[in-house]
């Protein structure tokens, strides 16, 4: 493999505590190394910013609901098609780009790892086919557990060990990465057209509450010692007053400690927290609950969050929170797609326009920025747009601009039709903080990598780690003349290396790298009861046979990378 040395760049690496020092980064055999030979190719990064490849902790980029979005929104391709160019396949789509475009766009922004946030287990084979066709970036997928019949039945009797054995089995057959929970219990209720809006609403028939599901899955996650914490989208998303449900959910993790060998410290990851931080009683007195949520998270070190920034675009919402999408189509009257999945989950899709002329959208925008600005520890708060729910991931450079520049925020606030309402219902106007590049590296690299249990592999530039490196045309020594320059610089990298292969040069794709599918292989003690239950469910209730359920073979996962977990000792 070729050697590279990236010289004289301003390096930002929270893993080693490097804050903008001029340093050389050497790459050899796909890893960061101390030194390379004289034959190494020199990349001049003087006057540029050098960071590890960014890590996406939560995005909907592959799988059935994403593709349903593509199928049913031809309008999303209008003016967003990209022709075949060099080694780039043709692409299309703004909020739900085709797989090839997804890979290229992430890479061009300096992202080298991304997690698909919700994989219906029964559709794992579809998710993996799309991951296979998404070039460059390493990807993992989180199977959803919060409405799974096995989980509901085991946790009704608080059988954590059986739940854990089932999780281990499902991660293996779906090549999944983590325990994802979406509207626990509520999506099962949705199969009857109902919902669970608080942590104490019982799930129809199963007679268990969301609180019991969450608590049990938290315990099972630590029982196994998985790389990632339990990753949750709580009940009551997107409703005025929902912050209280969020606090109730977060409280379930109280007193719990992370147990794993991957260096992860959190036990619960609250995703797209913006959507869960609303106060008020209706859309008229709608206001920000960012302070209440961040106050709680700041005090409780075993919780991490990501933002879910609204980017003020036309986009396509999609979630395994089936009842929420039905509620949303009632609000905006745009086309509604839904798919209930037997024994496991559901999903909905509705297009949405976050208009700067609508006060609620503008307040959502403000909340999304308040959260990271109010969080004291950037290692526990990560930037996402919950792609494509609050906006497409291609808008990350714009979100970074808003976070790094008060001036940019003020410009946007002044452009809102209901500026006064934004200022009265949120505290965005009084927040002067501007995120530093070091904090940005924490929020997009070191932090998410650590919480995903990948801190030993990626998210940093320490010798021995994967050589995922991004070089930005951004000189930290010079004052920023125009905030838009930040957005421009973070939109297209000067260089990106993925596992030591140069994949982007001057904002163009020059290599497809060595794409891997990340999954978690957990060894557990034999559990005949769980195996018998699985067998029985397939015989009686699934519409396919157990033998055909596993995502197996080269055409699904051509280049797997398994994180091994041994949970047999417990």
């Amino acid at each position: 493999m070729s050697e590279f040395i990236i010289k004289n760049g301003h390096v930002f690496d929270p893993v080693q505590g490097i804050n903008g020092d001029k340093k050389d980064i050497a790459i050899k055999d796909g890893k960061i190394t101390d030194k390379v030979g004289s034959g190494a190719k020199v990349i001049d990064a003087s006057g540029k910013t050098v960071m590890a490849g960014a890590v996406e902790i939560h995005a909907h980029i592959a799988g059935p609901k994403v593709n349903l979005g593509r199928i049913y929104r031809p309008e999303d391709k209008l003016f967003s098609c990209t022709p075949t160019k060099g080694m780039e396949r043709m692409g299309g789509g703004a909020s739900i780009p085709t797989t090839f475009k997804t890979g290229y766009e992430y890479a061009k922004m300096g992202y080298t790892t991304a997690m698909e946030a919700a994989m219906p287990p029964m559709f794992a084979r579809h998710v993996h086919e799309e991951i296979r066709d998404t070039p460059i970036i390493d990807e993992g997928a989180f199977p959803v557990f919060g409405n799974n019949w096995f989980v509901l039945e085991y946790l009704k009797n608080h059988e954590v060990e059986n739940t854990a054995a089932y999780i281990a089995w499902l991660l293996r057959v779906t090549k999944g990465y983590a325990v994802k929970v979406v509207n626990p219990g509520g999506t099962e209720a949705w199969a009857w057209g109902l919902n669970c809006l608080s942590v104490n609403d019982p799930v129809p028939y199963f007679d268990i509450t969301p609180a019991e599901i969450v608590k049990g899955l938290l315990e099972a996650n630590e029982y196994l010692g998985l790389p990632h914490s339990m990753h949750i989208h709580p009940n009551n998303l997107g409703n005025p007053g929902c912050y209280q449900t969020t606090l109730d959910t977060l409280a379930l993790a109280e007193g719990m400690k992370a147990k794993n060998k991957f260096g992860r410290e959190s036990v619960m990851h609250l995703t797209h927290s913006q959507f869960h931080s609303y106060k008020g009683t209706n859309w008229g007195d709608f206001e920000s609950g960012a302070k209440e949520i961040t106050d709680y998270v700041n005090q409780n070190k075993n919780i991490t969050i990501d933002t879910g920034n609204v980017t003020l675009d036309e986009t396509t919402t999609m979630t395994a929170d089936g009842p929420f999408e039905h509620h949303l189509t009632g609000l905006n009257n745009l086309k509604w797609a839904n798919c209930d999945v037997e024994l496991e989950t559901a999903a909905g899709v509705v297009p949405y326009i976050y208009s700067p002329s609508i006060s609620v959208c503008a307040i959502q925008w403000a909340i999304g920025l308040e959260i990271p600005l109010m969080m004291k520890d950037p290692m526990r708060c990560y930037i996402t747009t919950d792609h494509p729910n609050a906006g497409p991931f291609t808008r990350y450079p714009r979100v970074i601009k808003w976070l790094m520049s008060k001036k940019a925020r003020d410009t946007q606030i002044n452009a809102f039709k209901h500026k006064d309402k934004v200022l009265s219902q949120t505290s965005i106007g009084s927040l002067d903080k501007e995120i530093s590049l070091y904090e940005l590296a924490q929020m997009t690299r070191a932090g998410p990598a650590k919480t995903l249990g990948l801190g030993h592999m990626c998210g940093g530039l320490k010798p021995g780690m994967d050589a995922d490196v991004a070089v930005y045309n951004f000189n930290p020594d010079k004052p920023v003349a125009n905030p838009d320059d930040i957005e421009t610089a973070f939109s297209r990298c000067a260089h990106v290396f993925k596992s030591g292969v140069e994949v982007v040069k001057n904002g163009e794709i020059v290599g497809t790298g060595h794409k891997r599918t990340l999954w978690v292989n957990v060894k557990v003690n034999d559990n005949p009861q769980v195996m018998r239950d699985i067998n029985e469910k397939f015989i009686k209730y699934y519409s396919m046979t157990q033998a055909n359920y596993e995502a197996l073979g080269h055409h699904f996962v051509p280049n797997p990378y398994a994180l091994e977990v041994d949970a047999t000792h417990v």
Binding site: P64, L68, P74, K77, Y205, V341
Partner: protein, 438 residues
């Protein structure tokens, strides 16, 4: 000695049954018996053993006779045809696996082809309606476990999807439907008294072409508003009875087929059927599902969508993907004489397209990739027989509810025969050389 292969997937219809058992000879070369499959599915497996099967590519000669050629020659011809053509049409894809479709899309991208699948003459109108209004749907196991109101509209599963009712919709005893068919009410809407209609609790014998009116009347009936005495040939009492039956269900599912997608009003029929579904979700839970025909037409739409952004009728001739059914759809392209080469795989337009669209195929360079001799192979210049997907090779396929199921290989193909994917890879590599692409 023989051996039995279990959990085999049937490569016939969109029901994609995956519980088939196949008995093969000890050397894995002969397929002897098929269990659990319907009569069509069994035939599909057994047909692969036909002694008169074409096993070598054949090129049409000047005098109209066929001449056997090698796969290399066939790939040369196909690549040269696609390289030379200004606007080739690559049609079919519904009876092959997703891996072959993927390679085909690469070929289409290099040769700037128009890509289309059999949805163009089947559920394409459904897709247009879905793009208008959305689609509340579910997997077939949800129907099995929960549905107590089953509506078959313009479809006849008793003949077209023979195991649909026993596996998923009417007879199975699911988690919340322990009494099987006793816990379900069945409504059939069909102008004909089909074998499916004969089983129904309520059969609404709609006047031909009046489905839209009847669906609209149901929406009125849900709301308890005024109805004329007769709508679409159905007395209003019967419409109200059906509406009440649907509203009183705990979980309603509407299955629909070509009777509504390809009759008068086309996509508008589906628009309003989906609106009926949405309406019912105000009272109870309701889903709707198209009864997809080919076993992997759904998969073709999925692969097209994640690679190009659209589910069918895609035109790549400008170097990026465009989608405009009516303009970019196969029959229209052929009848307008816009394409100058025809590539068919895994379907039979010769049997299903209007004659005005089939005639041009005979007059242009054309390739048909199909294990069988079909009307399409009959009018094509080159016929490339391949291994039966789902019998002689595996590969991923998508059921009518979009659930992916990986097909199994149960027997070896005749010696020397290639699979769809293998042949397409040969074509792709040659085409890349001809076009000078890396």
């Amino acid at each position: 000695m023989t051996k039995t292969v279990t959990d085999v997937i049937c490569p016939f219809c969109g029901t994609l049954c995956d519980d088939i058992e196949v008995v093969v000879s000890d050397d894995g070369k002969q397929l002897l018996e098929v269990f659990n499959a319907c009569v069509i599915g069994s035939e599909k497996f057994l047909h692969s053993q036909a002694k008169d099967r074409v096993t070598k590519p054949r090129m049409r000669q000047e005098d109209g006779s066929w001449k056997d050629v090698s796969y290399d020659e066939a790939a040369d011809y196909t690549a040269a045809m696609l390289a030379k053509a200004k606007k080739p049409l690559m049609y079919g894809w519904s009876s092959t696996n997703c891996e072959a479709q993927s390679v085909g899309n690469e070929i289409a991208e290099i040769s700037r082809a128009c890509c289309d699948n059999t949805a163009a003459v089947c559920h394409g109108t459904t897709l247009i309606a879905v793009q208008d209004i959305g689609l509340p749907t579910c997997t077939l196991g949800e129907v099995k476990n929960r549905a107590d109101r089953i509506i078959f509209w313009g479809c006849n599963p008793a003949h077209a999807h023979p195991r649909h009712m026993s596996r998923y919709s009417i007879f199975p005893r699911g988690f919340f439907t322990g009494k099987g068919q006793m816990s379900r009410k069945m409504v059939v809407v069909d102008p004909r008294v089909t074998d499916t209609a004969k089983m129904a609790d309520v059969h609404m014998q709609v006047e031909q072409g009046k489905d839209y009116e009847l669906l609209n009347a149901l929406r009125v009936a849900f709301r308890g508003e005024w109805l004329p005495d007769v709508v679409a040939g159905i007395p209003k009492e019967k419409i109200r009875e059906a509406a009440d039956m649907m509203k009183s269900g705990r979980f309603v599912i509407i299955f629909f087929g070509m009777g509504v997608t390809q009759s008068l009003s086309k996509n508008h029929n589906i628009d309003i059927a989906i609106a009926v579904t949405k309406d019912l979700n105000e009272y109870t839970k309701c889903s709707i599902m198209p009864m997809r025909g080919h076993y992997n037409v759904t998969g073709s739409g999925e692969v097209f969508a994640w690679q190009f952004g659209f589910p069918y009728s895609i035109d790549l001739s400008r170097g990026f993907a465009r989608y405009n059914p009516g303009d970019t759809s196969s029959i229209d392209l052929l009848t307008r004489g816009e394409v100058d080469a025809m590539f068919t795989i895994g379907s039979d337009p010769g049997a299903h397209f209007p004659i005005s669209a089939v005639k041009p195929i005979a007059n242009m360079p054309s390739v048909c990739i199909d294990p069988h001799m079909t009307p399409t192979s009959g009018v094509s210049k080159l016929h490339v027989p391949v291994a039966f997907n789902g019998v002689e090779t595996g590969g991923n396929c998508y059921r009518m509810d979009n659930v992916p199921i990986d097909c199994r290989k149960v027997v070896e193909p005749p010696a020397g025969m290639l699979t769809d994917e293998q042949f397409l890879v040969m074509v792709r590599d040659r085409l890349k050389k001809l076009k000078g692409v890396a």
